[in-house]
């Protein structure tokens, strides 16, 4: 199953935090198969770019827009966002959580398969609050798979995952790109393997 044709466009975008200008004149396009790796020190505006791309922020200047099958679209149709928080209900079990998101995204994805891919197949009845930090991140990966959205916006998703998990993250991400998906990834650490194909967007200190 391939993902629909899509495009995320930043045109001459400027953003500000408080009184300081973070960046200005930012232009890029993200389309099927693209991976853009956002780099830059803390406070340089990586999260701001991701939140602009998710439609959570409105640019100070310029324009951010989304296309799906060459038609104008809203982020609610094509974007999956993972912030540096884990939006999980500590009381609910792993499978309850994923069932909830399957309903929210109105997704056709197979939950069991997504759990296996994320390496959580034996944790279905465990409460999310009992998972370790790394396992929570894996659950977040499973939610990304469930969303079946073409554009993934990832904020430090690979942190706190063990080396096996990191390998898993890279294989999930490269599968996503092969299916015609795209991703905008903010990370401090180098993105192994697939990192070679990634475009880099390096932000200076604000």
């Amino acid at each position: 199953m391939t993902l629909p044709d899509h495009r995320l466009c930043f045109r001459n975008v400027a953003a500000r935090r408080g009184n300081s200008l973070l960046f200005a004149g930012l232009n890029f396009d993200l389309t099927g198969g693209d991976l853009i790796w956002l780099q830059g020190p803390n406070g340089s505006g990586k999260t701001t770019i991701l939140r602009l791309a998710a439609g959570f922020l409105v640019p100070e200047k310029g324009e951010v827009f989304w296309k799906l099958e060459a038609q104008d679209a809203v982020p609610e149709e094509l974007v999956a966002y993972q912030g540096h928080q884990d939006p999980l209900d500590t009381e609910l079990t792993v499978s309850q959580t994923l069932n909830f998101w399957t309903d929210m995204y109105n997704s056709q994805m197979d939950i069991a398969k997504c759990l296996t891919l994320a390496g959580l197949a034996n944790k279905q009845t465990v409460a999310c609050g009992k998972l370790s930090a790394g396992q929570k991140r894996r659950l977040v990966l499973a939610r990304l798979l469930i969303s079946n959205r073409p554009v993934w916006l990832l904020d430090e998703t690979a942190t706190m995952i063990d080396s096996g998990g990191e390998h898993l993250f890279h294989s999930i991400l490269s599968d996503h790109l092969k299916r015609g998906g795209s991703a905008l990834l903010a990370a401090h650490r180098p993105v192994q393997k697939i990192g070679a194909t990634a475009s880099r967007l390096v932000l200076g200190a604000a």
């Binding site: 982020p75 149709e77 928080q85 939006p87 609910l92 309903d103 929210m104």
Partner: protein, 221 residues
């Protein structure tokens, strides 16, 4: 929408501290009032309607800061908004959950408290009925305040000041409806006024809740 309500119910079931304190507060408020007013049966009976309504309002206001705050802080609300769920459905689902989790326990206990205060059974049911009729207005105003304050960690006191002006008309007509419902017909003027307040609360509340949540999502940088 079912999934949203089911999630709220599961969370409430797993964490009693999210709703039980509101119920206990209601009971304690009545108990303390009885001690303060004294055991004179006639006075208690006359004051019962007002006391029950006051206890109900305070118990609901007590919940305001929790209703959206946790989901807003963990990033859950923005994920739900981004998932493409209709925002109208989201707000209605939340209102239904608040009714089921916070208001139903109060509705059940009101006739019991009424009996303790010396109300006739019919008067007790009239109390329950008046609260039931006013429920949508109570819920939407409380949710509106909760949405506006969803990113304020110490919003408790502001919440009281913000929500009270909206709740006062409901209090006025609610108390009057409870008193008239046992003497005259079910469709008293007060009940009609409450129904009107419900409509206003929905037409003002639903867009305001969505706008406030969006504004709070946009605030994070």
């Amino acid at each position: 929408m079912d999934a949203l309500i089911a999630r709220d119910l599961r969370l409430a079931g797993a964490d009693l501290s999210s709703w039980l304190p509101g119920l206990l507060f209601f009971v304690f408020f009545i108990m303390v009032s009885v001690i303060a007013i004294g055991p004179e049966a006639r006075i208690l009976r006359d004051m019962a309607g007002g006391l029950i309504w006051l206890a109900l309002l305070f118990s609901l206001i007590l919940k305001v800061s929790d209703l959206f705050q946790r989901d807003m802080m963990t990033g859950m609300t923005e994920q739900i908004f981004l998932s493409g769920q209709s925002k109208l459905q989201f707000v209605i689902a939340k209102a239904v959950s608040v009714f089921l989790i916070h208001l139903i326990p109060l509705l059940i206990i009101i006739p019991i408290v009424g009996f303790v205060l010396g109300l006739e059974a019919q008067q007790g049911w009239a109390m329950t009925l008046s609260v039931l009729v006013a429920a949508p207005a109570l819920i939407f105003y409380v949710l509106m305040t909760a949405a506006i304050l969803s990113r304020q960690r110490t919003g408790g006191f502001i919440a009281v000041i913000m929500v009270l002006p909206f709740l006062i008309p409901i209090l006025i007509f609610g108390v009057a409806a409870a008193e008239s419902a046992d003497s005259s017909s079910l469709y008293s003027v007060e009940i009609k006024a409450l129904l009107g307040l419900n409509l206003i609360s929905m037409s003002v509340g639903i867009p305001a809740i969505v706008a406030a949540l969006k504004a709070n999502i946009h605030q994070v940088t």
